[in-house]
Symmetry: C2
Subunit: 745 residues, 2 copies
Amino acid sequence: MRKVFLLMFLLPLMAVAQTVTSPNGNIIVTFSLTGNGRPTYEMTYKGKVVVKPSFLGLELAKDKHASEGLHETDLMDGFEISKTEHCSFDDTWQPVWGETRYIRNHYNEMAVTLSQLSPVHPKGEKDRKMLIRFRVYDDGIGFRYEFPQQKHLNYFIIKEEHSEFAMAGDHMAWWLPGDYDTQEQITQQTRLSEIRSKMQEAVNWGNSSVAVFSPTGVQTSLQMKSDDGLYINIHEAACLDYATMHLELVDDQTKVLTTKLGGGSNAYTPNPKPSVYPLPAPLTFVSHLTPDATGLKGAMQTPCTTPWRTVMVSDDARDMLSSKLILNLNEPCKIEDTSWIHPTKYCGVWWEMIVGKSSWNYTDDYPSIKLGQIDWNKVKPNGRHAANNENVKRYIDFAAANGLDEVLVEGWNVGWEDWANMWKRDVFDFVTPYPDFDIKALNDYAHSKGVKILMHHETSSSAQNYERHIKEAYELMNRYGYDAVKTGYVGDIIPRGDHHYSQSMNNHYLYVIKEAAKHHVMVNSHEATRPTGICRTYPNLVGGESARGTEYEAFGGNNPDHTCILPFTRLQGGPMDYTPGIFVTKLSEWSNNDSWARITIAGTLALYVTMYSPLQMVADLPEHYERFMDAFQFIKDVACDWEDSRYLEAEPGDYITVARKAKGTDNWFVGGKCDENGHSVVVKLDFLDRGRKYDCTIYADAKDAHYEKNPQSYVITKRIVKKGDILKLKEASGGGFAVSIIAKD
Amino acid sequence: MRKVFLLMFLLPLMAVAQTVTSPNGNIIVTFSLTGNGRPTYEMTYKGKVVVKPSFLGLELAKDKHASEGLHETDLMDGFEISKTEHCSFDDTWQPVWGETRYIRNHYNEMAVTLSQLSPVHPKGEKDRKMLIRFRVYDDGIGFRYEFPQQKHLNYFIIKEEHSEFAMAGDHMAWWLPGDYDTQEQITQQTRLSEIRSKMQEAVNWGNSSVAVFSPTGVQTSLQMKSDDGLYINIHEAACLDYATMHLELVDDQTKVLTTKLGGGSNAYTPNPKPSVYPLPAPLTFVSHLTPDATGLKGAMQTPCTTPWRTVMVSDDARDMLSSKLILNLNEPCKIEDTSWIHPTKYCGVWWEMIVGKSSWNYTDDYPSIKLGQIDWNKVKPNGRHAANNENVKRYIDFAAANGLDEVLVEGWNVGWEDWANMWKRDVFDFVTPYPDFDIKALNDYAHSKGVKILMHHETSSSAQNYERHIKEAYELMNRYGYDAVKTGYVGDIIPRGDHHYSQSMNNHYLYVIKEAAKHHVMVNSHEATRPTGICRTYPNLVGGESARGTEYEAFGGNNPDHTCILPFTRLQGGPMDYTPGIFVTKLSEWSNNDSWARITIAGTLALYVTMYSPLQMVADLPEHYERFMDAFQFIKDVACDWEDSRYLEAEPGDYITVARKAKGTDNWFVGGKCDENGHSVVVKLDFLDRGRKYDCTIYADAKDAHYEKNPQSYVITKRIVKKGDILKLKEASGGGFAVSIIAKD
């Protein structure tokens, strides 16, 4: 079922507006050039303005090698339209794993080829080409810049991308402070005009690698809601060898649009051009790329493209969650044999260290350590090292007894004594276990029970060190039968001066994914850049963090509405390893940690359905689950790969209810999660097969349940259901529900 | 023959001057603290002042992670002497290759342990320790900073090292502009006070990676001569995981001692301290380290040391050349099995590309290329590609016929179409040959003739890319029987913002040397940092460039005195792959290149003796040597590993005459090289064995020889000689002579 229609209009030298409409006609994108040849677009949805006329373009850096082939004349203005091509596309593809077995990729496309006078041929032909391609779906648009191979544009350095998104009103927004190094902040819900005044308190300055760049800088995916009921979401797709995009809001107080950070390169002199481009109107977002150590944003070689800049829109919040626009804008799978990629439910030697009851490191006796200069068999153990043979076996036994696929073990390898924020390059070697972790025996033991150990590679953000060791590290994994790795990037990037979301680091993450694929290893990348749907192309990227995960429940807590926001924002680009499943929410019950998880047990069960991921952790301690085995049954039963998903209701920051059909079965799982206000929901089981009966188990908050006062109060009820039946459910404050619906026979 | 004497004086809290003297008593070093606890040293030679009282210390950078273990209180002042240890050392060791079979390492040592108030314990014990160790030889000194592992100094970031060298007069100096990225400049000969006024014209701004940092910044090794006849040389030894040191001269015009470049880090705020330390007196050199991309100079973890800072001194210029001080200050060999390391004489497919007659690249048809996206079998060859099967075979035949060990082939691997200065990260893969280079067949052919091919890895300074490919690259070399690699670092460093001589890049070069050693590969590193004697520790580093080599004879020419300076400067740290041997000096005779080599044929023969290297290229084209086979005989005969070396006379920039005995034989080779003024020399053969006869062949400039007007005019004479005989030789302008003395029977 693949149809492509191609219509081409050749409109040389005519600056008339070009239009492209979504398949259902609801969305219209109009492109034109201003009098001085600046590219401009606007976007409407059902006649309402989503993006007011906004400029597009790239500012280039002055480079000392400009005479040798690098260009520095901005790609901002002076353009003419030399060609406009239209086409339609309709195809359906199958992801290796996902929320649905089939994904329809249906759009209308307009590609505008622009010509600019080359500085090499000031009086010659308009021989610098840049193409802007728009893809318009029923639920949003994507556009990107493309740079064909050409004689007079072979290499260039991006000083800044100036893609503008002029908003039509002072929308409500769910935003994170724009930051070059962390996404682990609390989402703020304010009007656009309130971002500036809220920024200072929005930043958790205690995070180890805060690098905010502007009082109005925010991250994507940015979810908004307009006063006239439009849900608008700005993000990007297919960010591969390019810097991650932030958005900088022009507001009433913006005087001059300048880059707040950066500079300091020896190779460049400041490009004096920013001021020659007029300041956009207030309520306009302008793209702001993550710089490298020189303050610049990227080195490009034609032929190349930027990532897609996406604007999703609907008057139904559920469309924000069910949209496949980001995945569709990525390239098809590039891994030929994907048979080794599989959904994974896992527990791990992890939460006990996060909470502070045990440690990653093996000894406390050295003020600092250097790999290769310590005889680990002779050092004095601290007695708190969690990744020891006995403890790991306990987790393996628990996984085997409960049908979990894998056991993550953090702190297995030497180097944790002084791993972070010391600018240590050679912090880990990724192959040497601590003396109390018998890598061969433990893997053998796990395999004998049908369980795998999940590898952990904390890089401490020393990317250079990880690349030096990566081949040996993956060879070791192959040797012992690991098939998945959790990577970590805590702390500041080494080489110093670089940032987590720069072009070079995004290239690094991709390098890791590709090396892992060569070794048939799945990757779950923590503290890496926020995803942009590249798991379509590289489906061994099965998870990631890139947001405030469950670990923050041990660092002061996440707000009850946090998991009602993440699916609208962080999850747009790909699944998150949120690590749900905390049953004993008051950590002081079993540790010296006073923090507590803001969620009920029923609510945490719901997350296995509402927070889609092919990789789901069962994060609490085995002994905690053993106290609530009836509730734990849902975690054992729930799938993590899906035939189909139906978002039943949703409102950002308030509630999400979704029903999913487990892939390859006739079983359904329904989850509902709400914020601190509680929520009542009526679930109509019209998605079940007609004439069939199902065993339905409902895990609900009890009447007295409350995320703070009574989080462990739940009720489990069982009944037989059929298509059309109705479930009336009440979610407590900070609670939720989970339902399993198992087909009989 | 190893003697160590240890004498320890415990002088706690006493700031009296400490003294250490060279074994022969000629050199005296005195150490003391100023009133505010600043470390100070001075140095005399035979009663003459070499270094006037000069401060020592390190300024540390303010780091946002300071509270987590990184210190920022400078290691400049506030010290007390807590311990002084003296010892003597006398040992003789054998290098794997070298100018002499035995090297004596004989010094007196003084190690001063300093204590500083820890900022963590402002009222507590003096618990920050820094040790300054002096080693005093008969021909100079070395000192370094040592930082023991300790509770309150585990990690620190160096803002600048402030090692001062206060000169006693306005010496004549042979200097290169201080530069973070290139050493390929013409040596300037001026008084110290003239450096500032000469700087602008001293820099060849056309070099692809000029990064000068100060109008009085110069490189080391810096050779000087005082008006009272002292030869003084400042350099460093054992620069491993540390930034390369430059020297910044304080002169009459210096107002404030500040770092001229750098800054721009997001992680740091400027340390306001430079101004609190008083400006040194004019004619003082202050150390200036090469920064990383953030403008800072290095990240340290205790226990650690800096490189040695060396000051060589003598009233005899020959001692500058015969000194083994730099090698002695390096650690003994760390490679257990060195059997695969061997002296190498080689020719190569190289000069014809340097001159411009043929090309490294295979096609001219693409404005740019991307590896993996081109089918090289289908591209149109440019017909100028030198690394083709037929041409390479011709060089192999030439090598085999003339006893050369290896044939360098540059341009064998894909990627040369747009390799430099485009900020391309993925510029080469180091394993894919062009279609006209049959890697297996050519290696087989070479091996069948007893010759090896010498690998070439041009990294284009994309260090990250090289590290990603290095294992496959060396595995390929092992597979096809390569045992040596010439590496190259043309252009600006990637990751962007870094510099050729920074701590991170020095670590990279060392990483490459170690990886090569694992694969039994010898390294000849071009455009890398200048060497500091680390070939003692890693003798597979058989050569390097790090100065203006013969290639510049095709880029405008080297001055005739160039090779009479290099042994005093560049060669102090280790051998140089100068690639001598140009017989047809007027390049226009066989190419479109108007440049010409400033040397006579006899002069170029001399270089094989005067420019010591275990790796010697025979750089001209085979067909050029075939025109002068009688002169070429010397290149065939000359050794490149030595039993003994005797510097007979020397004056920087004027002339060098040296006699060397080939290792494992009784044969001697004598070389003399002079500048544009010509030179007469009387060589007394008192180094020959008594009662023995030798066949002596003298390759001398003819009477009418002249480096410009008549470079190919030489006279070869043969005679029988014995110990005590005298050779009277006349070197032409820009000429020299070479003598082989072969023992009879």
